[in-house]
């Protein structure tokens, strides 16, 4: 449903123009479970006569027990559109509704209250200008009230309505309202909201929802809808600098090259100078091309195609920007991260970092602290669990273009994507670049990798043996090492157990420590390859993400993943170190294959099955691979 008026206007054209020019307010409803979020929106739409007749009739069909047969309609059912939601009587995912009054257009996202579904609340909050936080007046401020308030603030929402709901159940007593409003203001002081409006309401009975209630004569403020219709949003900030994230390069024919994207901020006119953010190349705008004809000028929010006066190198992921006010270009920065996934965020693990148009490999180099959502205190943490928020230092494989999130929501955000599952596992808001990116340069040396490997007459390589404990990694690596050594090759073997005696002796076997273990070993292997060596790395390395991270550290074709494939039963039967016996008896925690997962390689360079062939034959296979595929002598 979109719009309703009792009488058709005489002048349709003028009416439509007015309708089209109304400002849009995007808001969310949030708060704890059962505080009445869906009911409130249902009430708002119902009382404002914005629900179609057949939609009300259909409610009878799906009504939950106890509400379907009678006079009272369960208004939440207008919103809870999923089967599971109706069955459980809760909101699981965010629902978007659209409505308009004579003053404004609204897009409302009804977000779930359960902590478990925080990711869906964040989805709604990321594009909202205002949040309506509901509180059950019998309960007061709950942990979810705090969490949602914090997340709303973190995502850049600056205006807040505190809807003190179920007020009929506390006999509309002013003292209850005053106390909750006071407590909330005290709590929210640190959250940086520009405005907080508290309203006592009953979503169920409609008090102060669209008009002032007789039951709260002491309340002199606006009803909810009246407030939403009139609240002043941030005045259009003094024009922000021009940003066009390049989404697509249009090349329909040899004579046309246009940079397409949606303007993230600022304004651009034909003739204006622009800079390609990553390269610093200068040019100017020759034309702003659209289907409806060329434009003299275009502004924030418009999807345009720019033709530049000069040939520049700007592909997807780059940004065209104002020369006088440039964004950051860096590969290290600090960000606030909200984690969504059941498997925790681990420093050292590789993720795909996606900005609006760019995509790069990234690692969290440090989790500086986690934020306690009740006290906002900074707490030390080694990982971020689902629904936790932390401040992280992040390092990307290649520099990305960004602004601070507080300055620009469009160019300051990113999401983390898991390499293996492709799930969206986290969201980030960038704070600032880290200076290290500028100041720590790789020291170029005169005698380089090529010179060192030429002297050894070999191509450096990192042979990465992965497989279960007892699968035969070290045995095969050892056999290969002897073969290569006999041919005069310069090699070095890095063995999991050996490294844990020295370099990594501070690490245990938790998931976080195992990731760090691999990261250090990969970095050491990289230095050794740089020294010209053939490095044999023999580590269980159970997670795909870390092996991928190691691969990306090395040069093209330098990393050779060797999957030593031995069934778990066979490893347990061999049990060379007696570890399986202990693990199966529950005496070793986090033992790969028993109490911790092993993610088998999907496309290893070599896949060795040890039950079929002996270690020497397998070592010869690897040698043949090195001689053949890589053209080594």
């Amino acid at each position: 449903m979109s719009y309703l008026q009792s009488v058709p206007p005489h002048d349709l054209g003028a009416h439509l123009a007015e309708h089209d020019s109304k400002t849009v307010l995007r808001f969310i409803t949030c708060g704890s479970v059962d505080d009445g979020k869906s009911t409130l929106i249902g009430r708002l739409l119902f009382d404002a006569k914005l629900i179609f007749e057949d939609q009300l009739t259909n409610l009878g069909r799906v009504g939950s027990p106890g509400t379907a047969n009678g006079e009272e309609i369960d208004l939440a059912l207008l919103l809870d559109g999923l089967e599971a939601e109706r069955e459980q009587g809760i909101t699981i995912d965010v629902a978007y509704r659209y409505f308009a009054t004579s003053k404004r257009k609204f897009i409302v996202a009804d977000t779930p209250g359960h902590e478990e579904y925080t990711r869906n609340m964040v989805t709604g909050a990321s594009t909202a200008d205002l949040a309506v936080i509901l509180i059950d007046s019998r309960q007061g401020i709950l942990p979810q009230t705090r969490r949602h308030s914090y997340i709303a603030s973190l995502l850049g929402i600056r205006h807040l309505v505190l809807a003190v709901n179920k007020f009929d159940l506390v006999e509309f007593r002013q003292s209850v309202f005053d106390e909750i409003a006071r407590d909330y203001r005290a709590f929210a002081k640190k959250l940086g909201f520009v405005s907080i409006q508290s309203i006592p309401i009953s979503a169920r009975f409609g008090d102060n929802v669209i008009s002032a209630s007789q039951n709260t004569p002491w309340y002199k403020g606006p009803a909810l809808l009246e407030y939403l219709e009139t609240v002043q949003l941030d005045p259009p900030a003094a024009e922000r600098p021009f940003r066009l994230p390049v989404q697509l390069v249009m090349r329909p024919h040899a004579d046309f090259r246009g940079y397409a994207g949606q303007i993230a901020s600022g304004r651009i006119s034909v003739g204006d100078p622009v800079v390609v953010a990553k390269s610093g190349q200068h040019s100017s705008v020759e034309a702003i091309v659209t289907f409806d004809g060329n434009l003299p000028t275009a502004a924030e929010g418009e999807a345009v195609t720019l033709v530049l006066a000069d040939e520049v190198d700007a592909s997807r992921g780059n940004m065209l920007v104002a020369p006088a006010a440039r964004p950051f270009v860096a590969d290290q920065f600090q960000a606030h991260v909200i984690w969504f996934d059941a498997s925790p965020m681990l420093p050292g693990r590789g993720y795909i970092l996606r900005t609006e148009t760019d995509s790069v490999s990234a690692t969290v180099t440090a989790l500086k602290h986690q934020v306690n959502i009740n006290s906002f205190a900074r707490e030390a943490a080694k990982s971020l669990q689902m629904n936790e928020v932390g401040v992280c230092n992040i390092s990307t494989q290649a520099p990305i273009v960004f602004d601070a999130y507080k300055d620009n929501r469009a160019t300051g955000n990113f999401v983390f994507v898991d390499r293996a599952t492709n799930a969206t596992v986290g969201a980030g808001m960038i704070d600032f670049p880290l200076r290290r990116a500028d100041n720590v340069h790789w020291q170029a040396t005169d005698v380089n990798k090529a010179a060192r490997s030429a002297m050894k007459s070999q191509r450096p390589a990192v042979l990465w043996f992965t497989g279960l404990s007892g699968s035969g990694k070290s045995t095969i690596a050892n056999a290969l090492d002897r073969l290569l050594h006999a041919r005069g090759k310069h090699t070095y073997m890095l063995d999991g157990d050996n490294v844990r005696h020295g370099l990594n002796r501070d690490l245990g076997f938790t998931e976080a420590d195992r990731v760090e273990n691999i990261r250090r070993v990969a970095e050491v292997a990289k230095l050794m390859a740089d020294a010209g060596l053939i490095v044999l790395v023999s580590f269980i390395s159970p997670f795909r993400g870390e092996r991928q991270m190691a691969r990306e550290l090395m040069e093209e074709c330098e990393f050779i993943e060797i999957f030593v494939d031995t069934p778990l039963e066979e490893c347990a039967r061999r049990d060379p170190k007696g570890l399986y016996e202990k693990a199966l008896a529950g005496k070793i925690a986090n033992f790969t294959g028993v109490s911790s997962p092993y993610e088998a390689p999907e496309n290893p360079e070599l896949h060795l099955k040890t039950v079929e062939e002996d270690p020497t034959t397998l070592a010869l296979k690897i040698e043949a691979f090195l001689d053949g595929q890589r053209g080594d002598r």
């Binding site: 179609f52 978007y96 989805t123 989404q247 329909p252 609006e356």
Partner: protein, 299 residues
């Protein structure tokens, strides 16, 4: 953002269309010939200008569409010169599946849902754009702009990815595909206002005219060809009607209306008291019907 409403919606949709082309290797537009598809087609012409839309348009023909829809489809293809693919579930045709003989549920499942799955697999599309809007139906209101489907083309609402800002996660695993809805935030009213503003061609069935209809199960069903058997007591009436949505003619109800132009329709909409999907039989077969169909791979 201070753009006017339609301009904002247009820019948002163009951004999504471009994002699909930038990140998928073999996308397609599901073209249903309806008003939303007409708007989507128009936006595709805008998004890639001066190039043509760099993807084909797929029509899944159930063989029970209004004849005027097919005529319109073929005319548009010729006039605009876009690449149209038509897919019919031949197994269904061979078995004689139709709404009168098999019921609306089975017909829709075989001729629409299964047909769509066949076509997506035949051409190996990795992303399918469609004109669905969140304001159509309440399970749609819960869906993302980029909505992932498993290898069986099913939607799993509990496993929807979070979708923040305009930063879309466009990665899919082996066998998975993406459904993409650039018109997610448009309302029915926006669609009509945009059709007026941009002068977009639509199927004449949207405009009121005298048409032969019968009243059946509380809906006005138009007799579009001689495949429709009349039930005892049913009488063909000649009434001034139009359609708010278009689908298979036996499953789509007409409304009494005098609105013969787009401005007439907009005026009518300002007073209307029912939702557009009221005239769609398939949505009301059972509670949660739309969600169930989407889980099975309906778009």
């Amino acid at each position: 953002m201070s753009l006017a409403n339609l301009r904002r919606l247009e820019a948002e949709a163009i951004h999504v269309l471009r994002e699909v082309v930038a990140t998928f290797s073999n996308p397609v537009v599901l073209y249903s010939i309806g008003k939303d598809s007409s708007v989507l087609l128009h936006l595709a012409l805008k998004a890639f200008y001066p190039a043509k839309p760099p993807f084909p348009f797929l029509h899944v023909d159930t063989t029970w569409k209004f004849r005027e829809m097919i005529t319109f489809r073929d005319r548009m293809t010729q006039e605009l010169g876009f690449n149209l693919l038509v897919h019919i579930n031949q197994d269904g045709v061979d078995q004689g599946v139709g709404p009168f003989t098999h019921g609306s549920n089975l017909h829709t499942h075989v001729m629409k849902t299964m047909a769509l799955r066949q076509a997506l697999e035949k051409y190996r599309f990795d992303a399918a754009l469609a004109g669905a809007r969140r304001d159509e139906e309440k399970s749609r209101a819960k869906e993302r702009v980029f909505s992932i489907r498993n290898a069986q083309h099913g939607w799993d609402p509990q496993r929807q990815r979070p979708e923040m800002w305009k930063t879309y996660n466009t990665r899919v695993g082996a066998g998975e595909t993406m459904r993409v809805f650039p018109l997610s935030n448009w309302t029915e009213f926006d669609i009509w206002q945009y059709i007026l503003q941009e002068n977009i061609a639509i199927v004449p069935l949207y405009f009121a005219a005298r048409r032969p209809v019968v009243s059946r199960d509380g809906m006005l069903i138009m007799i579009d060809d001689d495949r429709m058997p009349l039930e005892p007591g049913e009488e063909v009436m000649d009434r001034m009607v139009r359609f708010r949505t278009l689908g298979c003619y036996p499953l789509t109800g007409a409304i009494d209306s005098e609105a013969a132009t787009v401005p007439d329709i907009l005026r009518e909409m300002l007073t209307v008291r029912t939702s557009e999907r009221q005239s769609r039989l398939i949505d009301t077969d059972e509670a949660g019907a739309m969600e169930k169909k989407k889980r099975e791979g309906y778009f």
